[in-house]
């Protein structure tokens, strides 16, 4: 069985495949340009306290996303820690 969770609930060190992004046009464009799209595999590097940014690694690039944005990106965990 696979788990479907948002980036903010992923544990640091987990890897998952993006299955859904709840975003408007602007957000999708921004994410798209950095290779964050449905079907892509992402690895969570860390989260920050106080609703701080989430840092993920995708295809060799590290990106920091705001909490609100990260909350709207859903992944399926492939290799649970």
């Amino acid at each position: 069985m696979v788990n479907r969770i948002s980036l903010v609930n992923m544990v640091a060190g987990q890897t998952g495949r993006i299955v859904q992004i709840d975003g408007g046009y602007g957000m999708m464009c921004k994410l798209d340009a950095l290779g964050i799209r449905v079907g892509k595999q992402v690895h969570k590097v860390s989260g920050q306290p106080m609703g701080g940014p989430v840092i993920i690694s995708q295809g060799g690039t590290q990106v920091a996303l705001g909490f609100g944005m990260a909350r709207r990106i859903w992944v399926e965990i492939e290799r649970p820690e």
Binding site: G26, P53, I55, Q62, G68
Partner: protein, 568 residues
């Protein structure tokens, strides 16, 4: 003159390519009507001289933020584009390349970080890529200079690409190209990468950040004080003062012109702190007192930037900052502000929205004391420096947080969420660093000195017309009543409009109690920006927002000063 544009994603080493193509005559320009700055310079190939513009890094030409809109405008005005792509992140880089291809302007590709790609086990067939896209694709390693010669030699081969594709197939097309040209070999995480990862994990990252900042500020202090002590103060004393004294005698040691240019002679001597002449205080203050610290701060900022630490620092503080209505990157203006508020406020341009820029600039001018001011506060505290500084700085920090929270609630507008690529740690390239620092210093000298001169001039006029004394008489009861400071401190506060550190100096002989000294330090930092900062604020915020900011400043200083008076 032909305009060559360097375009590419952020963190592709575009600036290093730019530096390789241009000489020392590069300037920072501002795209009119925007807060976007860019660098431009000249390049000569054979007989022809061309302009090279380093377009701010963008991920695409979609107009989703101001930097991208400006990039598109600049693209339209250019004649030829060198698209700098990252060999270690080719797939991502090709997004912009595809969009540029659609525009059918003369184009060529520089595949940068070629050496890094090799280390990461990535091998790219540049010739195959060139065949597919139909435009020159030159592997480069800008740091060592490899490939740059070929880049300039093949510049004439850049042509409008014939390659075509359907927009909705873009990522498939890119994927295809990658499959045909790129080969990956697995390899393990390097130490640098591990360090990069843990730098953003709070448990390790925050202590690391504190250490980094502590060392950074120590270095800045060292550079600043060193320059002042060994270069500027002796320089001014030995070379400039005799010249000024001679001019003073020539002007009859008094009179209107004399007072404007030289200022008041304190006991027959020129005192750079108190004379207030355009050519004395006006020149000494920005060059002899502020520039050394700004220099140190620019060095620190450039190093942190080029080694890749800055985005990680911004991420660590972003959570907190967003509660204050500003972006994690606002940490940069705040840090610069600790050197001099002027470059601090100017750097709020890196923030995306007007609301963020307003909050950051206001918080900066209210709660962040500049290096000159800090030095004088330390001096004022004397033997009580530990307690005095702790309470004073502690108060400022609390004010910063509370004021930020208030403004986050009350100031209308939006603040954008953080969304930034975090580059790998890299060893800064010295030549790039030096050029970057040089560009920034040159720009600061051109931008800041005229303001201080203007300020000295205005204060002088006000003094001569008696306006300063007039205002002093009527505000004195407020100041002593609310803040508990003696009436004589009023003079210091008025002078503080020009130079806060000078004002602190004027408080020293008043023999204030520790409580009074703490209140005076806090009030001086908060109540009104020094004239250079004031002028910069008007320029960056516009007059209306400036008035709002001033109101906030005056209100907060009255409240905080009163509270301190009551509880200390």
């Amino acid at each position: 003159m032909k305009k060559i544009l360097l375009m590419g994603n952020p963190n592709t080493g575009k600036s290093t390519v730019f530096n390789r193509l241009t000489g020392t005559n590069v300037i920072i320009s501002n795209y009119p009507g925007t807060t976007v700055d860019f660098t431009q310079g000249k390049m000569r190939i054979g007989e022809e001289e061309m302009m090279v513009i380093d377009v701010p890094g963008t991920y695409s030409l979609d107009p989703s933020d101001e930097a991208q809109k400006v990039a598109m405008k600049m693209f339209k005005e250019g004649d030829l584009v060198i698209n700098v792509v990252d060999a270690t992140g080719l797939e991502k880089s090709l997004n912009l390349t595809m969009q540029l291809i659609k525009e059918r302007k003369p184009l060529m590709v520089a595949i940068n970080f070629w050496d890094e790609a090799k280390h990461k086990g990535i091998s790219i067939d540049a010739q195959k890529l060139e065949k597919i896209l139909g435009i020159p694709c030159v592997p480069t390693c800008a740091v060592t200079g490899e490939g740059i010669k070929e880049l300039t030699e093949r510049l004439k081969e850049a042509k409008p690409p014939q390659f075509d594709y359907e927009n909705k197939e873009k990522w498939h097309v890119i994927g295809d190209i990658i499959n045909h040209t790129q080969d990956l070999r697995h390899r393990h995480h390097t130490l640098g990468e591990r360090l990069g990862d843990i730098s953003v994990i709070p448990a390790f990252g925050i202590p690391l950040a504190l250490v980094v900042l502590f060392i950074a500020f120590k270095i800045v202090r060292f550079i600043g004080e060193g320059l002042i002590g060994y270069v500027f103060e002796p320089g001014f004393e030995k070379l400039w003062t005799p010249l000024m004294l001679r001019l003073s005698a020539l002007l009859g040691s008094g009179g209107f012109i004399h007072n404007i240019l030289i200022g008041n002679l304190i006991e027959g001597e020129i005192d750079y702190g108190q004379s207030f002449g355009l050519l004395t205080t006006g020149i000494f203050v920005p060059i002899g007192a502020v520039l050394p610290y700004v220099f140190g701060f620019y060095i620190m900022l450039s190093v942190l930037e080029d080694c890749g630490y800055l985005p990680r620092l911004a991420v660590l503080v972003d959570g907190l900052m967003h509660h204050l209505g500003i972006h994690g990157f606002a940490i940069i203006p705040m840090m610069l502000g600790l050197g001099c508020n002027v470059p601090g406020i100017l750097s709020t341009r890196i923030l995306e929205t007007k609301r963020e820029r307003f909050i950051a600039a206001t918080l900066l001018s209210i709660a962040v004391p500049c290096a000159a001011l800090q030095a004088m506060i330390v001096g004022l505290m004397g033997k009580d420096v530990v307690v005095g500084l702790t309470v004073a700085y502690g108060t400022l920090l609390v004010v910063w947080v509370i004021l930020g929270l208030l403004m986050a609630h009350l100031v209308r507008g939006e603040s954008l969420e953080i969304f930034v690529e975090i580059p790998p740690y890299r060893r800064p390239y010295i030549r790039d660093l030096l050029k970057k620092i040089w560009i920034r210093i040159r720009w600061f000298i051109k931008e800041a000195i005229p303001f201080v001169l203007l300020g000295v001039f205005i204060v002088n006029i006000l003094y001569i017309l008696g306006i300063i004394q007039f205002v002093g008489k009527y505000t004195a009861p407020v100041i002593s009543g609310t803040f508990g400071l003696p009436k004589e401190a009023v003079g210091a506060l008025l002078v503080g409009f020009l130079r806060k550190d000078v004002a602190v100096g004027m408080l020293a002989p008043l023999a204030l109690t520790l409580k009074q000294r703490i209140i005076a330090s806090v009030v001086l930092t908060m109540y009104f920006p020094c004239v250079a900062t004031f002028a910069t604020l008007i320029r960056e915020l516009g007059p209306i927002d400036m008035l709002k900011a001033t109101a906030i400043m005056l209100a907060s200083v009255l409240i905080v000063g009163r509270i301190l008076n009551l509880i200390l």
